[in-house]
Structures are given as C-alpha cells and as structure tokens.
C-alpha cells in the first residue's frame, strides 16, 4: 500500500522509477545505472519546473521516463552523465582541468560562505523573489536582500577571477 505524500517529487518518483528500472533492465542496464539516469532526469525536470519552462505534452511520468532514457543512453554511449550545462558549448568542454578547478573553487566558496551560496541558489536556481529571500534570510526588506545578493555575487566573481577558472 502506498501513501500520497506532501512532496510531489516523492509521488512522481514512487510512481515512475519502477517502470524506468524495468525499461533499463530490459536494455541490459543495472539498478545503479537506472537510478543515476533517473536522478539526472529528475534534476532536469525540477530545474525546468522551477524556471517555468516545463512543457509536458502527455504526462509528467511520460516526460520523465523519456528524459531518463535519453540520460541513460547518453551515459552509456559517452561515459558522462547528463544534465549538461545550460547553453552547453562543446568547445568549452575541451579543458579537462576546468572541471576539477571549478569543483575545488566551489568547495572553497562553500567553506567560506555557505549562506552566500544558499542566497544565490535561492535567487538564481529556485527563482525566489527578493521579498521571499529577505524573509527567509532575515533581511530588513527587498532592498537589503538585493544589496546582499550583489555582495555575494561579487564575492564569487572575485574568487573566480583570482583563480582564473573561466580562463
């Protein structure tokens, strides 16, 4: 017996993953491969939904299964998981060291300012309004939150410049 939860992602996961796992099993894949591809697809799904860019023609489950299958095929054929960055440019992927430098830079930024990264995530990824951010992070209002967001962004930009990750 399954129960409906408050989190629609949990319900979508419960309803969709066994069917996807069955599909991957038939194509010779493992449970771990199925899970990784399914999570990649869910990341894409959630990101598009947050950005108001999700265009589902039939059902959420069909969309998810189709996306997950593409992710699995991509990982199988290329050895690298999706999702690719927005506006992905293959020319940018030539520098294999960039990935490691970026990861290292992210670790450093999280260590030195997790709150800043949370604030930037709330704005750029979760698409929260400045008023919501002010409430959530305890600022006096939109203006104060906007200034703090700028300071956090500037901190990240300066760190990037100093490590020349984008070079």
């Amino acid at each position: 017996m399954t129960t409906q939860t408050q989190d629609p992602i949990i319900d979508l996961y419960r309803d969709s993953f066994p069917d996807f796992a069955r599909m991957i099993r038939r194509m010779g894949g493992s449970l771990d491969e199925a899970k990784d591809a399914f999570h990649d697809a869910l990341l894409i799904y959630m990101e598009k939904e947050k950005a108001g860019q999700l265009q589902v023609r039939s059902s959420r489950k069909a969309y998810l299964l189709g996306t997950a299958k593409i992710c699995w095929l991509h990982a199988r054929d290329n050895g690298t998981p999706l999702p690719l960055p927005e506006n992905f440019d293959p020319a940018e992927a030539v520098d294999e060291g960039a990935e490691e430098r970026e990861q290292s830079l992210l670790e450093s930024l999280v260590r030195s300012g997790r709150k800043c990264m949370e604030l930037l995530k709330a704005f750029y990824y979760d698409h929260c309004s400045m008023q919501d951010i002010a409430t959530r992070f305890g600022f006096n209002g939109r203006r104060s939150a906007t200034v703090q967001k700028y300071k956090c962004l500037e901190k990240v930009r300066e760190e990037i410049k100093s490590t020349q990750t984008y070079a």
Binding site: I10, H39, L43, L120, Y124, L153, R157, I160
Partner: protein
C-alpha cells in the same frame, strides 16, 4: 552601489537571455570595447555555473534521500527486487 547593482543586473539579463535583440546587440558591441565589462561578464557566467553546480549537488542529495525513503516502503522495494532479481 546603485551603479554596481544595475551593472550586475544588466549582465544577468544578458546571460539569461532576457534582453531584446536590439539590447543584446548593443551590449555585445560594448563588450568588444570594454575589457573590464567583458571580464565581469565572464566571471558572472562562471558564477552562474558554480551556483548551478551547488544546487545540483544539494538536489542529488535530496533525491538519494527520497530513494532511501522509498526503499522502506515494501511495495516499492519488492518491485525493484523483482525487476533486478
């Protein structure tokens, strides 16, 4: 500060493709002649990528937690066991 905020906002609009075609062309023309601005744009582009990477990491953790939670449901766990038996 206001100028700095406006500039960062304008760069965001450019990177997120929220400018009109005309404004995009004008901005890209400025980039050709303003090295300091071009440097800020590239740093901000990288910042967007890092923020996205940070968000993905959190969301992956959340999805792993959901998977473990669902494995505690007998029906879900049995379905997977039957598939990969």
């Amino acid at each position: 500060m206001r100028d700095q905020l406006n500039e960062a906002y304008h760069i965001d609009c450019y990177l997120l493709r929220q400018l009109s075609e005309e404004d995009t062309r004008a901005f890209e023309t400025r980039l050709l002649f303003d090295n300091a601005l071009a440097e800020k744009v590239e740093a901000q582009r990288s910042a967007h990528r890092l923020i996205r990477r940070y968000a993905w990491r959190q969301e992956r953790g959340r999805l792993e937690a959901i998977y473990r939670l669902l494995l505690e449901e007998a029906e879900f766990a049995h379905q997977l066991k039957d598939i990969f038996i």
